[in-house]
Symmetry: C2
Amino acid sequence: MESHNPVPDITVDTNYGVCAAAGFRAAGVEAGFKASGGKDLALVVNDGPEFTAAAVLTSNRVAAAPVHWSREVIRQGTCRAVILNSGGANACTGAQGFQNTHETAENVAERLGVGAGDVVVCSTGLIGEQLPMDVMKAGIPAVTDALAAGPEAGKSAAEAIMTTDSVSKQACAARDGWTVGGIAKGAGMLAPGLATMLVVITTDAKLPADALDRALREACRVTFNRTDSDGCMSTNDTVALMASGASGNTADELEFTRALTAVCHSLAQQLITDAEGASHDIAITTVGAATETEAEDVSRTVSRSNLLKAAVFGNDPNWGRVLSAVGTTAAQFDPDQIDVTINGVMVCRNGAIGDSRDNVDMAAARAVDIVIDLKAGHHQATVWSNDLTHDYVEENSAYSS
Amino acid sequence: MESHNPVPDITVDTNYGVCAAAGFRAAGVEAGFKASGGKDLALVVNDGPEFTAAAVLTSNRVAAAPVHWSREVIRQGTCRAVILNSGGANACTGAQGFQNTHETAENVAERLGVGAGDVVVCSTGLIGEQLPMDVMKAGIPAVTDALAAGPEAGKSAAEAIMTTDSVSKQACAARDGWTVGGIAKGAGMLAPGLATMLVVITTDAKLPADALDRALREACRVTFNRTDSDGCMSTNDTVALMASGASGNTADELEFTRALTAVCHSLAQQLITDAEGASHDIAITTVGAATETEAEDVSRTVSRSNLLKAAVFGNDPNWGRVLSAVGTTAAQFDPDQIDVTINGVMVCRNGAIGDSRDNVDMAAARAVDIVIDLKAGHHQATVWSNDLTHDYVEENSAYSS
């Protein structure tokens, strides 16, 4: 899929994840949260010598208990472990829910010999149900006992955070003297559990906490934040980044940001590609915008048009649905100047009928490339999305029952 | 369906429409725009003695040629006729499209002996195709020849603007000495042709143009503008109101606004109830808001959650999807204070688990009533929507092909 976002030209290996960097151990076990069975409790531990950390958490004002907890943990710029469960979001669960998150962190901390305030907690699943704490308390010794370094351990953690993902998601990039790698689950249509996206990234580079934070925010801005499957923001979204410094090498902040962005881009693309119910991946690129923010706004608005997404499902290059969505934004443009190109065919030229829509082949491939030229400036942004399908409706029509 | 919007307590008769008021003739004929056949050209004519008019047109910046034309016509506060075709939106059709609208108005004007600048034009159908003007030019004499007063003529016009509507929509309210009535087509899921909503309303009351304009904007604000089927705004939406003064009676502006609001409310409810693909009508009411605007914003944001809409299709009272949508708004609230009631059961209390979701029966009726209490003030607003169903995806996945 062609991309107009600034994705660094860095090779990413999707066979390795959180244990690719030195100084980390991980594990994934079946604790019993999921009614369907399978691994559902993951742990990623930073063995140091440094414990620098950063995180980006959901901006949803209705945030889950683990998000409130983790926001406090990460405020100090350090973290020693991330514990993650699938099978329950622990969102909208009141004081009891927060107490359960606190108790989870305490149990993990005790087993690791660290402080509870060093443990980030992530949960994913149905909103509005309390976590079964007997399951959690039995699962924590099991997952800490299973901790190991190496590719198998990292993959096991990636598997334990899956909900309806059909494959686990890993990505890593090795640079000169240090490595960055991560795991991810969820995204949009993929996750009936409110599209929760959980990501854990590790690096053995040496970096101060403020540089780590800046790098993570910039990487998320142009990758995860431009992945918009169904416009629904989760109460639990968490991207956590831990740096062990175990390589002994200090990374240049710009180079680290580039490698981190490449890893985040790969994980985001893996999320979109595995989106359940989707039959097309759609890259919506707005070019010629007056600002990057306006380019992103236009791409995002188009990515949220149910009418367009249903048309893409039907392999219908219905460009009128692109223009009608663009027209609802406040971006600078002259409606009589807009071009729209679908899979290389300029079906709309200067806001009116362009080349024949019959020339557009959407059935041949899963990828659909939509480019909107506003002719109002020199900025651009891509948002990645999916089509709206029968399977999406099916997946999401009976999740809690 | 319970409503918390200020819907006037005025009896509305849905058997009569644009010919209920004195001074109007109408007609609907089969011109040949629709490949599927059936009536597709409608005309509503004001015979006076007054010709006061107002209109609310789409705020989409990518507006159809007939919208650009009609905006100029209505600027003078008068209008003698509205011509409407289904089977083609005449949107994104460039200079040729505007010329076709102009020519349509001229042809109608010539047959009626009025000026082209007195004719409002409305179109609905696929975006990005030129209208077949041979069909239009043959249809206009046919529809002017068919003009008549009385219920049958009004119903015929209501039928000719239908696209995938399963029934035509009319509403009228008779007050002391004057009457207001209208016809409507489209809305959200109902219309694969980009949800285009076309409405023509007539009255025989005597009112100055500025009062007519104020009344129409207020009525639309709390009815059509709070009907949000799929969040997709049309390039062609038009609500036109013509006043003939034929009753000889001057209407009080407030009383006229109330009657007009009742008629618009009825038409809007008829649109939602007939929405194709939908299996549930959803009334989303936000109460306890700091301002009416915030109440509307919260209700509208919830109405646009695909995850919630798919859950409603599955008769699943998934209140977590309500809260996660509320959390994305900027409205004033404390997340730990929000109550959510679905069909009378308070499933979420103070932002956490309330009464059992098992007590909610969503399968028994088409209507679903969701009430969100922000506990931040005393304002409220209802937005009406539909569920997201397999039939919606099917309807919208292959419209232009």
